[in-house]
């Protein structure tokens, strides 16, 4: 089974929010980077290979009645916006849940959505 793990930062401190990020000790910051690296190197994981710029840098495009509407920011709230993703191949959802629970964002005020991928 293939799963997409979609990460939302929520309230989690990230390098993009320097005030909160600086409140973490250097060890805590290093531990977060290490955790993300370990996850990316877990067997079965295909990292996204890209790093997204923060949600504040997003632009949302909609088309209504043939007119293109462009607005600043993500489609959802900043906290809910996609922060990153990875693909995971596993036997069942329990393995995907276990991996998701190790993603730092999940325990720091964010969330990880585990979405099964359509397979033909």
């Amino acid at each position: 089974m293939k799963y997409m793990l979609l990460i939302q930062f929520g309230d989690a401190p990230t390098p993009y929010s320097p005030d909160e990020w600086e409140r973490l000790s250097e060890d805590e910051q290093k531990a977060i980077y290490r955790a993300y690296n370990e996850i990316n190197e877990t067997p079965g994981v295909t990292p996204s290979g890209v790093q997204l710029q923060p949600a504040e840098m997003a632009t949302t495009v909609r088309v209504e009645d043939g007119k293109t509407l462009t607005t600043d920011g993500p489609f959802v709230t900043i906290k809910e916006a996609l922060a990153g993703w990875l693909m995971f191949e596993a036997d069942d959802i329990d393995a995907a849940i276990e991996l998701a629970s190790r993603i730092p964002a999940a325990r720091m005020g964010g969330a990880v959505e585990v979405r099964p991928v359509v397979e033909y």
């Binding site: 089974m1 799963y3 596993a90 036997d91 069942d92 959802i93 329990d94 995907a96 585990v114 099964p116």
Partner: protein, 395 residues
Amino acid sequence: MPQAAPRILEQVFRDEWGRVLAGLIGFLGDFDLAEEAAQEAFAVAAERWPREGTPANPRAWLVTTARNRAIDRIRRDRTLAAKTRLLDVPTAVGDDVDSGSHRLDERLELVFTCCHPALPLDAQVALTLRTLGGLKTEEIARAFLVPEETMAKRLVRAKRKIKAAGIPFRLPPAHLLPDRLAAVLAVVYLIFNEGYGGRGDLAAEAIRLGRALAELMPDEPEAQGLLALMLVNDARRGARFADGTVVLLGDQDRSLWDFDQIAEGRAALDRALALGGRDPYVLQAAIAVLHVDEPLDWPQIAALYGELARLTGSSVVELNRAAAIAEAGEVEAALALVESLELDRYHYLHATRAELLRRLDRVEDARAAYERALELVQSDAERRFLEQRLAELQG
């Protein structure tokens, strides 16, 4: 072979449905296929057994027949084979299928699958009742006061999610077991509570599930504790209502209690305590058992409520503790505790406060409290009880 009486057949079907279905789901890896095969097997049995007599081993017969039906279907329809997790379509099995062993009893795997946290709670309840309880969709819909179509969609969506999201059919690994077991027990208790207010059939279903769980997990104190709790509370059901109103414990006609069930409950509690159980269901069971003892040991009941409150942090438990403290003779202390609780929308809080105020002869305050309780009460039987109490005050 002797002719099978219809009632015995019905009993066999009820007992065996969950086991047979669980075994099939384990074998086929698909809920719908398994359900169809099981239904066919039971239909054949219903037609044949009254004529030919019940087989020596009904379970083996049902499992064998169902498996063979499923295999037949898969052979005829290759697209179905892709749905199952059978690598090769097996040949039909004979009567020597090992039916007595626990290998075929995959009800534990089934209940953990039905109660997986990736499914919404209402779906967990519905699926458990449908697959383990064998209730028809229409029966479950009626029990939860939703249209049949709503319940049918709920079940379809749940089964679809199990497949699409890869919810596994197996026991959770040891490190996940405590949380997952708590979820399963919560579902069973939810089913019991839906039946507790009067719809006795669901309470009986919950107890059946509880018995199965206790049997399948003999070393889990909370499984024993939940079973004990349900048995003891259900045993008093016959005495709880009279003339459309609630009858308090102290006024209940004990001859209407089911003492065999109470004894079964005590035995389950003893097993739980012997296993060192001291978690919420075990504590609640101990409290329930103390309530059927004579004379009532209110200080001990209050102490157990205290332990339970510390574990759960529940204000409702504290309210119950207050009632026990009052019964033990400390009405002022009980009132003080009640008044410290933040449960303003809970009618039992106001009813309890009213009762305590009444005992302290604070009639005006008691009246106001009963009136507040009447604003919030839901059930007719409880409303009548409160109205009676209020009337006694004015008199």
